[in-house]
């Protein structure tokens, strides 16, 4: 079965600083990979996804992620964090036949210092 690991439970960065959230997955084939953001009291919003092709994918709100097959990673990055980016971030993986059944990581809580 596939699994997702987000090694960092909580990250604090200063506003304007760069951000990288780590995600590692375990799956025999190339999975479908997603990053979601969850603001307090809200549902999950898709930031970006990777299915195939270019390994650097661009998402909403200035986020990007890079798929590295050799490292089984799909890290999320943003060059300059805004206070409104404070939220919980979830990496998710899905089988190539059913993206609806996704396996989520434990999440990383991002705090942004002024």
């Amino acid at each position: 079965a596939q699994s997702v690991t987000q090694p960092d439970i909580h990250i604090t960065v200063s506003e304007g600083a760069s951000l990288e959230l780590r995600c590692n997955y375990s799956y025999g084939a190339t999975p479908y990979l997603f990053w979601y953001v969850q603001s307090p009291g809200q549902g999950l919003q898709l930031l970006l996804k990777y299915f195939s092709g270019d390994t650097l994918v661009q998402g909403i709100k200035g986020f990007e992620a890079e798929f590295k097959r050799s490292q089984s990673s799909f890290n999320l990055r943003k060059p300059s964090v805004h206070w409104s980016d404070a939220a919980e971030y979830f990496c998710a993986v899905a089988l190539n036949t059913n993206a609806g059944k996704s396996t989520f990581g434990d999440g990383t809580t991002l705090t942004v210092k002024p």
Partner: protein, 116 residues
């Protein structure tokens, strides 16, 4: 942009009672899902539903759970006899037909279920 809507936003119930959580998926979506997030834990897949039947379910989705699409717009999750450990945020999601399995999920804002 169309949204998945869920009601109520918060439901409190006593142990042993039945609850029904309601969702209105995006209107042209045909695949529907329920996920659960226990406080402080990861989001977990419960069940997927397509063409008026369950297409897949997790080990969490036991006989106490059921789903239904009673009409053309609503998608419900019923818990027959709630337990304390059912307290969680329940998210409904749907995705686009045609692209179906390969399209990302659109989530509702969730229903927080508290079992006392």
């Amino acid at each position: 942009e169309p949204e998945v809507t869920q009601t109520p936003s918060h439901q409190v119930t006593q142990m042993g009672q039945e609850v029904i959580l309601r969702c209105v998926p995006i209107s042209n979506h045909l695949y529907f899902y329920w996920y659960r997030q226990i406080l402080g834990q990861k989001v977990e897949f419960l069940v997927s539903f397509y063409n008026n039947e369950i297409s897949e379910k997790s080990e969490i989705f036991d006989d106490q759970f059921s789903v239904e699409r009673p009409d053309g717009s609503n998608f419900t999750l019923k818990i027959r006899s709630t337990k304390l450990e059912d307290s969680a945020m329940y998210f409904c999601a749907s995705n686009v037909p045609g692209q179906g399995d390969n399209s990302p999920l659109h989530f509702g804002n969730g229903t927080r279920l508290t079992v006392t």
